[in-house]
Amino acid sequence: MNCSGFEDRLEKYQEGKLTPEDRRAVEEHLTACAFCRELMEIASESLNIPAIEPPQDLARSILERTSGPACRRAREHLCDFVDGNLEAGYGEILSLHMAHCSDCSALAASLAELKETLPQMGELEPGMHFTFRVLRATSRLLPEPRLNPRLRIQQWWLRLIQRPRFSWEAAYLATILLASVLGNPLTTFHELALRAGEVYQSKGSFSWVSVALPGSLVRSETGAMKHTREFAGALSNRQQELAKSAAVLFEQGTQSLQAAVRSDLQEMRALPRKALSALQRAWATLFPKKAGSRQ
């Protein structure tokens, strides 16, 4: 064995890891070579030198003169480190950095706290009445059940007439209708009281038809019927009969109203009977054959 071979095997020889053949060859070389004996003595002493704690700022001084502080690089990986997404080897050297850097270790602690706390901030109770308020707001928006058109119209009508102000609205509409039928109310009703008086004086009683219809018809109670007949002259026979019946019923109705205005109780008691007889007459007029067959 030469000196070069001895140097190659020196470390293993000191650690006792050589094969018996190599160990024997090394020892033979040591007895023969003074230079290698001295080399082994120096190597043995260096192994026994006690470790000395380096100055605290030594690493920082070295880094300042070489690569600069590693904090910036460390912070790039802190989130992955906290999330556990950093590979193990890199995590070790980052931990080594944080062991000597209070700023980065404080940041890592803060990030770990955020990782635990932030998900807890995703819910916040809105108060005991919140659910009630939402349900009240949405209950008005419940979808309508699907009904067939006839039922829907029926329900609409029932809702309409059950409203308290329906009677007022009906009266309002009737007034509008009456006014539009009878013409301008300012002129038509202007002479209404006078006309009613005239009719009452001439007949001893009056009919609302005579009062309300135009002046040409106020002379007698039968004016309305005459007017109806004239009007119906242009219509077909069936329509004429219908118009006559309507006129009869209308006259009976006005007589009943007249009785009510006079507070004639006897007349009012006879009202249903008179209305029935009027209806029968109308029926006979409208359906003469059927009425005849019944008789």
Binding site: L111, T117, E123, L124, E125, T131, L135, A137, T138
Partner: protein, 190 residues
């Protein structure tokens, strides 16, 4: 009864299922609204408005897995609209944001359950100091746990931007928390 069954019952007009859905998600919707508008009363009104919108549009959310992102999206849109309206018509007396946050944070607001903990209160204050985008990313990713793709779609920002911003925003929040913590620790106890 799982979420898909509850949603189906809600679509069929079952009020009981709707109440269950409201109770299940009201805390989350309210928390999101509160994070955006930083005012308990406004957040409550907004949360109610959000549920009315959800109720009216339940037929648009066919998949139960998509319900939470859809709900968060509706909440965010309502909050953004509200903030825009508020900016257009500012309150009669301006309050400094930090001061307002402080007032809210230390005030005795019974609804702020998590603000009862001083540490969470501090996190909330640190959050208010972030930029709008960073705060929104933290809200959507770290608080609500939405995937990055969903956040990018919601904020109309490229996915790469969200990825790079995500860790930076969290680091910025942690830094602010360290500073606030130091300030808090150095304050004499009262």
């Amino acid at each position: 009864m799982d979420l898909s069954e509850i949603l189906q019952s809600c679509r069929n007009g079952d009020e009981l299922a709707w109440e269950a859905l409201v109770r299940q998600f009201q805390a989350r919707v309210y928390a999101i609204a509160y994070h955006y508008v930083a005012n308990a009363e406004d957040a409550r009104d907004l949360a109610q408005e959000v549920f009315v919108r959800i109720y009216q549009n339940l037929h648009l959310c066919a998949d139960a897995h998509m319900f939470t992102p859809w709900m968060i999206r509706i909440t965010r849109n309502a909050c953004v609209d509200h903030i825009r309206r508020r900016k257009a018509r500012p309150p009669a007396q301006d309050i400094d944001v930090v001061e307002a946050t402080y007032l809210e944070a230390v005030g005795h607001n019974p609804e702020e359950q998590w603000a009862e903990s001083s540490r969470k209160r501090m996190i909330y204050r640190a959050l208010r100091e972030l930029t709008d985008l960073n705060r929104e990313i933290i809200l959507l990713k770290d608080i609500l746990g939405l995937p990055l793709e969903e956040i990018a779609s919601m904020l109309k920002v490229p996915l790469g931007t969200i990825k790079s911003r995500s860790n930076r925003a969290r680091l910025e929040l942690a830094q602010k928390l360290v500073v606030l913590g130091g300030r808090y620790d150095s304050e004499p106890a009262t």
